[in-house]
Symmetry: C3
Amino acid sequence: MPGTQIKAISQTTTHLSRTSTSLCSSTQNIKELLPLMANPLSDQQENDAQRPEQSPSHQKMKRKLIRWVSYIAGDMTAFGKWMKRQFILLQIIDWVLRGAAQVMFVNNPLSGLIIFAGLILQNRWWALNGFVGTLFATISALILCQNRGAIAAGLYGYNGILVGLLMAVFSNAGDWYWWLLFPNIFMSMACPIVSSALASINSRWDLPVFTLPFNILVCLHMVATGHYNHYFPQVLIQPRTSLPNITWSEMDYAKLFRSIPVGIGQVYGCDNPWTGGIFMIALFISSPVTCAHATIGSAIGMVSGLALAAPFENIYFGLWGYNCVLACIAIGGMFYALTWQTHLLAVACAFFCAYLGSAIANVMSNFGLPACTWPFCLSALTFLLITTETKGIYKLPLAKVTYPEKNLIYFWKMKKEERAAKEKKKQEKMQLDSQIKKDEEILVTMEKDKPDICTVAVQEEVDAKRENLTDQM
Amino acid sequence: MPGTQIKAISQTTTHLSRTSTSLCSSTQNIKELLPLMANPLSDQQENDAQRPEQSPSHQKMKRKLIRWVSYIAGDMTAFGKWMKRQFILLQIIDWVLRGAAQVMFVNNPLSGLIIFAGLILQNRWWALNGFVGTLFATISALILCQNRGAIAAGLYGYNGILVGLLMAVFSNAGDWYWWLLFPNIFMSMACPIVSSALASINSRWDLPVFTLPFNILVCLHMVATGHYNHYFPQVLIQPRTSLPNITWSEMDYAKLFRSIPVGIGQVYGCDNPWTGGIFMIALFISSPVTCAHATIGSAIGMVSGLALAAPFENIYFGLWGYNCVLACIAIGGMFYALTWQTHLLAVACAFFCAYLGSAIANVMSNFGLPACTWPFCLSALTFLLITTETKGIYKLPLAKVTYPEKNLIYFWKMKKEERAAKEKKKQEKMQLDSQIKKDEEILVTMEKDKPDICTVAVQEEVDAKRENLTDQM
Amino acid sequence: MPGTQIKAISQTTTHLSRTSTSLCSSTQNIKELLPLMANPLSDQQENDAQRPEQSPSHQKMKRKLIRWVSYIAGDMTAFGKWMKRQFILLQIIDWVLRGAAQVMFVNNPLSGLIIFAGLILQNRWWALNGFVGTLFATISALILCQNRGAIAAGLYGYNGILVGLLMAVFSNAGDWYWWLLFPNIFMSMACPIVSSALASINSRWDLPVFTLPFNILVCLHMVATGHYNHYFPQVLIQPRTSLPNITWSEMDYAKLFRSIPVGIGQVYGCDNPWTGGIFMIALFISSPVTCAHATIGSAIGMVSGLALAAPFENIYFGLWGYNCVLACIAIGGMFYALTWQTHLLAVACAFFCAYLGSAIANVMSNFGLPACTWPFCLSALTFLLITTETKGIYKLPLAKVTYPEKNLIYFWKMKKEERAAKEKKKQEKMQLDSQIKKDEEILVTMEKDKPDICTVAVQEEVDAKRENLTDQM
């Protein structure tokens, strides 16, 4: 079955490349990007439509602004299209930047650039490792002849950046321990292999691989070497063996509030709140909906930590937030079309993810391992596997997933078409109904005149029409 | 492929609703329920059939008895049908009771009521938590728009009751610690989500989800909070680090015998032998075959414990029995049609499950976790995935699974139809054969007379017939 | 979908039985086995073809030698065919021997015999347990009515021999503790059940089950009883809690070199280098490619151990080698057709497997368990799930897998047919093209003469042909 063996990750981007070709006319592009600007702009714009008497220079400026926004927001398809004709090294830089942002499901090189800036602010050694990881993961995907569209969307890079970063974060050998680059390169080159293998499995349920390859490979590296290793020692992580000291009067509300951006930063292993703030900007540029859900997720994680009597230090450090951030983004508009039901589902998933995060962290600490993003992966996969009979929860086909705003447009369009098809069917049925009635009337009159063999034929015709009708219903 | 994405749990009950509509005539109902009463009644009845000279009043009384039994035995479809027209709150009570019994694969509200009585006898706080769990799991399934038939069969409730019960059993905060109801409600409301997600996976192999959602969620709660938690501390469970003291002379045979009902009670976390006895009655009402296999399973678990040098306390406490009980029921007539081969398979599965139970208990104790019903789930799923070339082991399609007796009727009917179809084919083949012979004879005579072009046509016809025949074979 | 439910293991051998029937003419057999002798012989043979003036007696001798080699090399199909007419007990011996060799993917009773000799050299008690395991696994498969072809290929025995051997190896009760035979028989009889269940899952991705049943069952037995058990105590395995002492000056190069055959021996749990050497002979007899990859794999494992700062004792003891041996064989020509790309992939897989081996050993030591061959299974399955767009990496359908040399012939034949089909299509296209041109010319001339209704028909014909042509392209 070659048709089903197509990798999920490759599917995600075939659409991208397709749409990029249809974007010659930038007007269409603007239309598609409109919802992006919904927060501050579209309301104004709607008003504009009702006020055509406005000055044309004002309208022109606005149109310019919208076009300018369309170039940097969303998945920057116009830029991606332009990139295709550039030199391969430049292209790889684009792919690496998109890969850096894809950790947060953002397919946008500008966001990637901002994220790298945030990483450099946090720790230059970590940022270097992250860059090396993304680069080699992308190169490895090229060597393994993976789908070019998926590579160009950064779908092979995001596991690489996490592998590189987190191996540096959890290394006990200190910063600028250059030997670390060897396992880093080895593990990031293994990313596309594990991604491809997992995609073969997950595609059966039309599910993405998320950051599972990163989780597998970083845990593999950490547990293979361990704390007691001469070459690549890891940070010592041990299970809790006594009651933590929790005094509510000692709570620091400033730190608690700061834990929200810190939680977003912890997706990349960063505990600097400024870095977290920069990441939020990177998210906002591409998709405000994603940014909003990231913030909600981080807040939910913090609340869950308080509810489950977690030590305050862990909450301040953002350890309760980062998984919820990712889970909330994934369910809230990314893989489900954003409706109020899926928004609630995203909130539920974030709570579930926080619970699961605590559980996995406790289990993994027995092996000296951190929780990584296992809780996010498992909870998001669980919530994506749900089947319901309500129409408010619509899971997008993986090949159609782009970013929440565009997904929503796709969902609306699909619903509209469905409604139109229904309407058409209804009308057809009514037409057929009326015709049958006419035929029956003719039949009745004919039977009155003479019960001939001719009427039998008409009768049969009427019966056939009626059957056809019931079939359609 | 929307057809394959239909949830397994929903499938289980579409049949129920279908059959319930065809049960207007209670005579048919009685026919279907006959095997239920096979143990004490049907033998008599067969004798009756041979003794039509018996007094009509006796016969009438017997028929009345059978009808009366048909109302409370099996899955009480007549009652379920009647319930559909009642007030929604009454319906929910019915669903909750069915959910309580579904832990043992019994779809019968009366059994559920008896089981609740047993729980109250054991511990009222536990029974309350179990009720809350079932109730909220059912409500959550309603909110998530799950299949109404599956909800009505209690298929969303049974994980809820186990979650509620076991969270109370393993809580270290003592009875009547009301805060526990919060995680209880949260976790039982997560049950339908996990059920639905797992069903999406398992349905690919036409497998049920068993109690996997309960296992996942209770382990998640226990390990997320752990023994050292301020709000929700768990019982301390630690791995064995020294040789247990086993002196065969100290064996208490009364306790050993009592471990059989205790093992059945431990399915719901109850160590009271009376509670276990009450559960056996609940099983017997719905399906004697299920009850028999439960007893066999518990005994096998006890024997396995002795064979693997387990501490006597664990065996007396029923910890070796409850997984085997469930595994033996599942394989022995529930998901396989009951033949002597599947009966042996059920015994083998129970032994395998006991072994696996010991293994899982040892592994999970490292994380402070009990074995829950993981051993049952894993061993039963393994044994349901077997493929063989023998006809004695027939796995029922998940949509046709009801209870052992009815499953057996389905199996027999199917076999009968198969045999009839074979017989028909054989006869057709013989007819065709004889006709070919006739044709050939004609041909021979014709060829003798004059080797005409006409014979060629007949020859061709004969050849076509022969080909057709070989195709059919 | 009955078609997809066919077990993977059964598929592997349907081909065997099919080919064995076509082997009446031993000349064909020799042709198929030619690549086997590629290393020392085929070069000579090619030279022979160019030197037909050679003495006929020399040629005759060579042909005799080739035929003789064909009888013992590869999968000994001729012998297998002959065996089918023998007494059942003799057949079972054949199946047991093939099962012993199938651990290394070798379907050859002679290799199995040599392997048993190696085992006896190592430890007679272990060899006995291995034999009992293989025997009962095969018998159990017969009882469970598994596919006869798969049984005859030893595909139900290889897990049995590993279960028997490793249970004896890891038992703490000492050699000749006869009670051990009970769990040994129980566990080896459970092998076909677990195999069949896993095959139901893996066949969905056309993957083999490898030694997963062995891993599951031995871990199950070891953790179910544990070190602190009265009847079946296990060797004490504990996690590392301090830095190992690694002094490069203390390195013993002789032992390091010896670790290569020891690594091959450790596939069967043997640490005797001579035993490992005997196993290499057994591999070489059946398939030199397999033997070469086994050696490469063992060397890679040793190097990886040095790179990851493993204690020298572990490396000398072959613990770093055996998983890489199996992984390298599986990827290098067994399940992928051998090209230089898959050869590199096999090397990469061996490195990945060594890393994974260290990780799994550290994790499992927490439960007192050895790594078994989990690392091999997981890494090989991962590398077999990869999908790429390159033609150099061709995964054989599971039903066509035999041994590297024959797989390669199959691959070449397939490629040749593909190329021929392409060529044919091209020619047809050219023919059609030229004919269209002719038709168009006719049309033009006709139109010149008289624009008749007749030309319309020709025009239509031309259009249809052109459409047909574009469809074909």
